[in-house]
């Protein structure tokens, strides 16, 4: 039987178009022209392409790559990127984002630390409030909330331990009160107080404190004794180098350290405890005789302090019962029970303070009398 090779179309007849309508021809021509035009446009654009848009800028990775070299021993992503020269002010790299609109980058003095056992492993980086998110991501709005001006930061490698390093962050705010505000917001309740910085604490791997208008964070890469010791040395060094400025924080300086619950310190700009005369007030809770006592201090002129004391006494008299107590070391005192809670309030020269909303009148009074006698440091 003869075999007949069938076409793929089976029994259907092959169809060959012989007559293409003019409109279709024109449309085809237009499409071909358009494709050619697009190709030419791409070729022309390609000659003048903007590297900021289409290419990775290797120099923008310098600081990151340098940090990677020292921190993890990771291979460089680009052979062109070199680690920074040691202690060179000329190589400071302003932080710039290729995505951010062109604007002058923040610059400043490089962060130099003269201590044995460390060396810079990256250039100093600078960030303003506008591009702070590039460094600290979602934490930036909180810093902006306190009017951060600049972040200066740098990493230092530990010479004795190649894999270890210490990061130094210095956030400069517009004034010491704002620096304190941000510091207080981030405070670790488990932190241990520092002997070289009153507004500070240490954690397992870091040191955190406010010095003047600067909030300093020194963070070790690990918990090795040598690394942590160097982190502490750096923290002490920065505390000495940065100018002390407690403007607006007079009340904070007066808050005693004995028994203070570290994460309870708060600053109230005005209307503290709902009193129109209470401004720039610092508050903290204290452990005293087995109780927790909320305590506040305001520093003002003697006249203003006296006026606020009297006004508060009147207020307590309206809403509760008031008793004048014997003066202690020049401090006049009243005790009041208002809405079931106790207040013991003193005024001495330009200082007004007291325990408020205490459950126990005797303890509140004992704390204030001891404080006025200098027994609570």
């Amino acid at each position: 039987m003869a075999t007949e090779k069938k076409s793929s179309a089976g029994n259907r007849r092959q169809f060959v178009r012989t007559n293409v309508p003019m409109a279709e021809r024109i449309a085809g021509g237009v499409i071909i022209l358009l494709l050619a035009g697009i190709g030419i446009a791409i070729a022309i654009k390609g000659r003048h392409f903007n590297p900021d848009i289409f290419a990775v800028r290797a120099d923008s990775l310098k600081s990151t790559a340098a940090a990677v070299i020292g921190k993890g021993g990771t291979a460089l992503s680009s052979p062109e990127v070199k680690p920074p020269a040691e202690n060179s002010a000329a190589e400071e790299v302003p932080a710039e984002s290729s995505m951010a609109p062109a604007k002058p980058a923040a610059k400043g003095e490089p962060l130099e630390i003269s201590l044995a056992g460390i060396k810079p492993m990256s250039p100093t980086e600078f960030y303003t409030a506008d591009n702070l998110f590039e460094k600290i991501d979602g934490r930036a709005p909180a810093y902006q909330g306190f009017n951060v001006q600049q972040l200066r930061c740098r990493s230092f490698s530990v010479l004795a331990a190649p894999d270890s390093f210490v990061d130094v962050y210095e956030y400069r705010f517009d004034n010491p009160v704002d620096a304190f505000g941000m510091f207080a917001l981030e405070r670790d309740p488990k932190g241990r107080p520092l002997d070289f910085a009153p507004d500070g604490y240490s954690g397992e791997m870091g040191y955190f404190y406010r010095q003047g208008a600067v909030y300093v964070q020194i963070i070790a890469s690990d918990t090795k004794a040598g690394t942590v010791a160097l982190a502490k040395a750096i923290a002490e060094n920065r505390a000495k180098e940065l100018p002390a400025d407690d403007h607006g924080l007079a009340g904070r300086r007066k808050l005693p350290a004995d028994g203070m619950i570290a994460d309870s310190v708060a600053f109230v700009l005005e209307n503290a405890q709902g009193q129109a005369d209470f401004k720039d007030v610092f508050q903290a809770k204290y452990k005293f005789d087995g109780a927790e006592l909320p305590f506040f201090i305001m520093v003002a002129t003697p006249d203003d302090a006296a006026k606020a004391w009297k006004s508060f006494q009147d207020f307590c008299g309206k809403f509760g019962t008031v008793e004048n107590l014997p003066a202690v070391e020049g401090g006049k005192i009243f005790s009041a029970q208002v809405f079931g809670k106790w207040k013991v309030v003193y005024q001495r020269a330009g200082e007004l303070g007291g325990v408020f909303d205490a459950e126990d009148a005797a303890r509140a009074r004992a704390f204030i009398e001891k404080y006025l006698r200098g027994g609570v440091k």
Binding site: P141, N147, L269, E270, N271, Q273, G274, G320, T321, F339
Partner: protein, 392 residues
């Protein structure tokens, strides 16, 4: 820094005979009430609300002992902790819940349905099984999109309101608004007819027949309860005493509160009473209110407010119209300046930075023209300069 509102009102204490209970056990009778909307309950004409640093159970004690039975709070107040103070207070006095009109608010940024989830969080935070009034907080196009202009008359919102109320978790539902689009939101609410109450930025000096006035009228006629807010914000720098009001035994600011109550459409004034003096002064004003102020007194108040420095327009037709047209959020920015200057609220900076770059960009905007067209001559060129100095 400008003196806080409380300081401005402080002298009123000496002018008032009856301001506070005499001892801790005494509680003054409730302040006068008005019906909130056609079918709503009687509520204190003075609401104890706003984002107050001194907020605490003891602070609420002061308000309660002064006779205020209407507490207003929100998810975001006090850094998210203000509701917890209400909870502590309610734990202290559970028997007072039935006499308290409690309001809280939330931001359903992901859409109206979110209100159904958020209410549980609000109840938990406030330590209560129900809210008397539940608001969408800060109704505006920037937060909720252009579509939100239709929410107050949409079937979707109506259904959610019904679900909320039928669950027993909420007695009334509404929204708060201090946006330039307030007239549009009010008009939509009046058309929809199912919103129970609206808290709106208010001044007693609105031009009669203007869009906002029409919106208030329409809502009032539709039986929607209206609560005024931001009523004293434009008079912080006004003279504290004027002879004409001395004769009535009122400070300028107390007269201003009474001017708000002189509008029968307004059920209550939600006043951010940041200190005890302000609470006492405001309570004295509501207790002294007997009848609407005379037109001459209203006119004197208007002139006094106009002549004083104010940080924000209470919402005149011109600013409302331009606010709806422009990307530049001059209304919000001036409000943040006001929070920063009057309240010392450092979070105003954060709010400013949460605006998009376009909403902060004043280039190409004729600020002087905005000021000149504003019914209250709000000095936008100066306010925006201050905003940039404080926040930018």
């Amino acid at each position: 820094m400008i003196a806080p509102v409380g300081a401005a009102l402080a002298p009123s204490l000496s002018a008032r005979a009856e301001t506070a209970p005499k001892n801790s056990t005494a509680v003054l009778p409730p302040v006068p009430t008005r019906k909130l909307g056609r079918n709503g309950p009687e509520v204190s004409m003075l609401s104890f609300g706003g984002d107050i640093p001194a907020y605490s159970p003891e602070y609420l004690d002061i308000g309660w002992s002064m006779g205020i039975r209407y507490f207003d709070t929100a998810s975001m107040y006090g850094g998210g902790n203000e509701e917890l103070k209400v909870a502590q207070w309610l734990a202290k006095y559970p028997e007072r819940r039935k006499d308290l009109f409690l309001v809280s608010k939330d931001h359903p940024r992901q859409g109206l349905e979110q209100l159904l989830e958020q209410i549980d969080r609000r109840l938990e935070r406030c330590n209560t099984s129900y809210l008397d009034l539940y608001f969408i907080h800060e109704m505006n196009v920037r937060l909720y999109g252009q579509d939100s202009l239709n929410w107050p008359k949409s079937a979707a919102f109506k259904k959610i309101c019904e679900k909320l109320k039928s669950s027993g978790k909420v007695k009334m539902v509404g929204f708060s608004c201090h946006d330039a689009m307030a007239p549009q939101y009010l008009a939509a609410a009046a058309e929809g007819g199912f919103v129970d109450a609206i808290m709106v930025k208010y001044t007693p000096f609105y031009a009669k027949g203007g869009d906002l006035d029409k919106g208030l009228d329409a809502c009032h006629q539709a039986g929607i309860g209206l609560i005024a807010m931001k009523t004293l914000r434009n008079a912080v720098d006004a003279p504290k005493r004027l002879p004409e009001f001395d004769k009535l035994g009122l400070t300028t600011h107390q007269a201003l509160l009474q001017a708000c109550w002189s509008d029968p459409r307004i059920s209550a004034v939600c006043n951010r009473m940041g200190n005890a003096d302000l609470i006492q002064s405001s309570v004295a004003a509501v207790r002294a209110y007997k009848e609407p102020l005379k037109v001459a007194h209203l006119e004197l108040l208007r002139e006094t407010v106009l002549a004083s420095r104010h940080a924000m327009c209470p919402g005149c037709p011109s600013c409302n119209q331009r606010g709806a047209e422009l990307d530049f959020a001059f209304g919000d920015i001036s409000r943040f300046v006001m929070y920063y200057e009057q309240d010392g609220d450092l979070r105003a900076r954060e709010k400013y930075h949460q605006l998009s770059a376009a909403h902060r960009d004043a280039s190409g905007v004729d600020l002087a023209a905005l000021r000149d067209a504003c019914q209250f001559k709000t000095d936008y060129p100066e306010i925006i300069r201050r905003a940039e100095r404080y926040f930018a």
